[in-house]
Every structure is written in C-alpha cells, then in structure tokens.
C-alpha cells in the first residue's frame, strides 16, 4: 500500500479568541491517495472552505498537522510546497486579472517556479492552453474577451502550469451554465488521468460529486460527519445529515426522485 499523498491529522482551526472564537474546523482527519478525486461536501459554515484554505496554506491550522508525501507542511509554505498544491476557484472572471493578458497570467506560474528556459515559456503557455482545449493564440487576449467557461479553462491551465500534484477545486463549476459545466467536468476528469493528478473537490453540489468523486467527505458545522466511497455513501448514507443533504437536491428525472424519497423515508425513521 502506498502512502497517501496528502494527509490531515486532527486539523483544527479557530478564528478569533475568547467568547468570540469560532471553531471553523474541529479535529479533521483524512488522507487523500494519489490520483483520486476526494470531494468535500457541505453547506455554508460547514468548514469545507476553511479546510481547503489550510491545505493551500492560505492560513495555518490552529492545531494538528497537514502532511504532503509524508512530510509535515510548515506554517509558512516554501515555494516547492506551493508548487505541489494548486487551486481552481469558483468565480472564473475574478480569478483572472482583468488588466493582464491570459498569457501573462499563465506565465506567472512558470516564472515563479522557474519552469522551462525563459525562451521556451511562451511555447509552454501555448501548450497549456491547448491542453485545456483552447487555441494557443488566446495568450494574447484579455480575460474580458473570454466566456466564463473559457476563463475557467484558463484557470485550470494555470493550476497545471507549475506541474502541481494536487489541485484543490473550490466549486469549480457552480458559476457556469449546465452545458459548459459538463464540458469542464469532462476536461477535469481527463486531465486527472493524463497527468495523474489528485483532486480535492470542494462543493455543495451532490449531483456533480456523485459523478466525479471516488470518495466523499461530508462536513457539517466544522466537523466531518461522514467519509466513504461515493457508491456506498449514496446507497446507504450513515449519517442523517448526509441523507438530508441528498434528499434536498433538486433533480430532473424520476429515478432520482425515487432515490431521494427512499433516503427521505430513511430520514423520517431515524428521527423517530
């Protein structure tokens, strides 16, 4: 058995002090295996974003540790740690600087991490754009000239630019239209295979997660209430909150209705 690529051991985060202290994440432990897509699902205030931010090193945990390939990550990340863990954000338009070209935004990652010789970098940028299904000459455009879906592809290319191993996807498709969402999810799946990437997929959307994640961690109010294989979790959710969450999802087919009502029935039993 290979060691997990990313490991959280009793990680917690407290914002503020004294009576105002908010326990945003409480003793969270899980491991992510290389090449898998682990989804973290929860509603606002569940702590899913706090955990994502700690994995990314935006702020350090208040307690516990985060390990990358077996080594504990320091509170202030070194460049090599930054390189390994990258991010795709929810809002594609805001995540690209409106005053810089697409090419400049992509090149930043190459420059910071010294990837490729200086002269090659323009070609590398073109290659990255093609890898996410965009023409190489988009490098000269400004983000305003791109659609939301195209911007999101650029953001994905940027996350790949520094040859990252782990990509934290923070609601990567929830700002996109359904048709665009399907294409972007397809692309992500494909990139995970070709680049052997590991995904931590943060979302509130269980329908998306059902079709892309290998395992799911359900968060509620700063705690992880359930972690399981996707199939198992949908077939037989152990926690009543998971059942509630699944049965609240608006759906479009009769089969889904059936799944929802069977889970909702289970919910009534457990509350009795």
């Amino acid at each position: 058995m290979t060691a997990p690529i990313l490991e959280l051991a009793a990680v917690s985060k407290i914002f503020g002090t004294g009576a105002d202290a908010v326990r945003a994440a409480q003793s969270i432990s899980f491991a992510v295996n290389k090449g898998e897509c682990l989804a973290i699902v929860g509603e606002s205030g569940s702590g899913k974003s706090t955990v994502a931010n700690m994995i990314l090193g935006i702020y350090p945990p208040s307690g516990g540790e985060i390990r990358l390939n077996g080594t504990t990550l320091p509170a202030s990340r070194k460049l090599e740690h930054r390189r390994a863990i990258q991010l795709v954000q929810q809002n594609p338009l805001s995540s690209l600087n409106p005053r810089r070209s697409i090419g400049a935004s992509l090149r930043l990652a190459l420059d910071v991490h010294g990837i490729g010789a200086r002269k090659e970098r323009a070609d590398l940028v073109g290659g990255l754009l093609e890898e996410v299904g965009l023409p190489a000459d988009f490098a000269r455009r400004s983000p305003a000239a791109l659609s939301g879906g195209q911007c999101q592809r650029v953001a994905i290319a940027r996350a790949l630019a520094c040859q990252s191993e782990i990509v934290v996807l923070d609601e990567p498709t929830s700002a996109l239209d359904v048709l665009v969402q399907a294409r972007v999810l397809k692309l992500l799946n494909q990139l995970r295979e070709t680049r052997n990437l590991t995904f931590v997929f943060i979302t509130h959307d269980l329908s998306v997660v059902r079709n892309i994640a290998s395992r799911i961690a359900v968060f509620e109010k700063g705690r992880m209430v359930e972690l399981g294989q996707t199939e198992d979790l949908f077939a037989n959710p152990a926690h009543s909150y998971t059942r509630r969450l699944i049965s609240a999802v608006p759906v479009v087919t009769r089969e889904e209705d059936a799944l929802r009502s069977s889970l909702a029935a289970g919910l009534e039993e457990t509350t009795k």
Binding site: L79, R82, N97, R100, L108
Partner: protein, 277 residues
Amino acid sequence: MKRTLAILLANPLSLLGVVLVSLVVLSALFADFIAPFPEHRGAVVDFVNFNKAPEWPYIFGTDLVGRDMFSRILYAYRISLILGVVVLAIAVPIGVTIGLVAGYLGGRWEYALMRLTDVFLSVPPLVLAMSIMGVLQPTLANGMLAVTAMWWPWYTRLVYNITRGEKEEGYVLAAEVIGASRAHIIFREILPNCVPAIITKMTLDMGFVILIASSLSFLGLGVQPPTPDLGSMVADGAKYLPDSWWLTIFPGLAILVAVFGFNLIGDALRDILGAEQ
C-alpha cells in the same frame, strides 16, 4: 486607449476639454514662437507703452511696466504646467506606493501609514503650504515642495481603497497560491487595476494644482517676480480694478481655461474608465 480617445472626442463637453487643454499645452510649448514679445517674460521696462488697454500689437494690453500681457500669460502657462507635472510626478508615485502597501499588507503597516496620511489630510492644504513656505524661502522649488507635501495623501487614500477591494479578488489569491512575491502582487497585479482611477485623478488634479499654485502666488508665496505667474498677475492687477481691468481679467480667464479644460477631460475619463471596469 483608442476607444477612450474616440469617446472623448465624440462627447461635446469632453471635446471642449480636449480643445482647451490642447490650447494651454501648445501655448506653453511654443511660447517662444507665439509670443509677440518673448523678452517680456523677464524684467523688461517700457514706460512708453505701460498700462495700455488691449490694442494691436498688445492684444491683452500691457502691465504697469509696459510688458505685453499676452506674452507673459503664455510663459506663465509654461510655469504652471511644469509645476503641475513636477508636483504630480513626485506626489503620485509616493502616494500610490504608500496606498498599495497599506492596503495590501494590512495590519500594523496599514495602521501606521494610514494614520500618517490622516495627519496630512487633516491640515487644510493652503494652510500647510503657507506654513512650509513661511519657514522656507518663498521660491518656486519650495512652492513645489509645499504643494507636493499636501498632494500625495489624496492618492494614498484613493489607491488604498481600491487595493482593499482588489485584495479580495480571486486573481490576488491565485498569485498568492502560486507563490508570487509581495512586490509582484502589489505592483504587477494590483497596481494595473488602480491605473484608470489614478489617471482620472491626475487629470482633474492638473487643474487643481494650477489653481492652488496660483492661490499661493496670489498670496505672494509662490513664484517670485519677474517670472510671470498667473496668480501673482491677478494679485498685482487687483489693486487697479476696475480701471485697468485687463491686468486681472486675462490672467484670471487663463486660469479658468486651464482648470476648466482639465476638469472636463477628468470627468469624462472617470465615466469612460470607470465604466470599463
């Protein structure tokens, strides 16, 4: 850039602004060729033609020592514009850098820098300039120093507020996650997003700097004679109103044209560049 220019020229008010400002800038640049009496910018005395009402070849009349008002106004524009450019060239980089640093770094830096800015902002500009000029010699260089000292905090305020907003944008987070340096994030990522607001304010301020420099000279604290200056010309002439009206009306109008022109362009830029974001 091209689009901005096209819109500027399409709107009648901003077109007027462009015309007025071009007039001022061209007069200042080519004063040597336009002015009928270039030597009148200095200490020339011509008691034959002193205090004359407008008549050819003195289209704006002559002053009390017989110098051509029109020539002197052209050269005064040159001084005013140099003053405006130099003041902004010093005040803007200082103010902008402080605003960026305070806004992005936050914490103690923000506290220290913004309180310093507040101190400068709490003193009325003219009073501050007058006290600086009072302590130092009332020369052109000190005039610039005084005006600069009271100008940068406005840019700090402006840029600080924009930076606070931009800091929350996803592209800043993305650069941080990539591991870009603070200097890169501040100057390469955030600063370009402040540029439209800075340019707009600079255009408006060109007018205000000219105005405040004229006010200082009016009080006898700015440019010293015999160098021509619009403010001191108005001040000198004011004693002879209403008989020798040309001594005040023309320099006064000259100030008005410059300030009005820059303001028209500035207002238009604010609309255009603001809408672009």
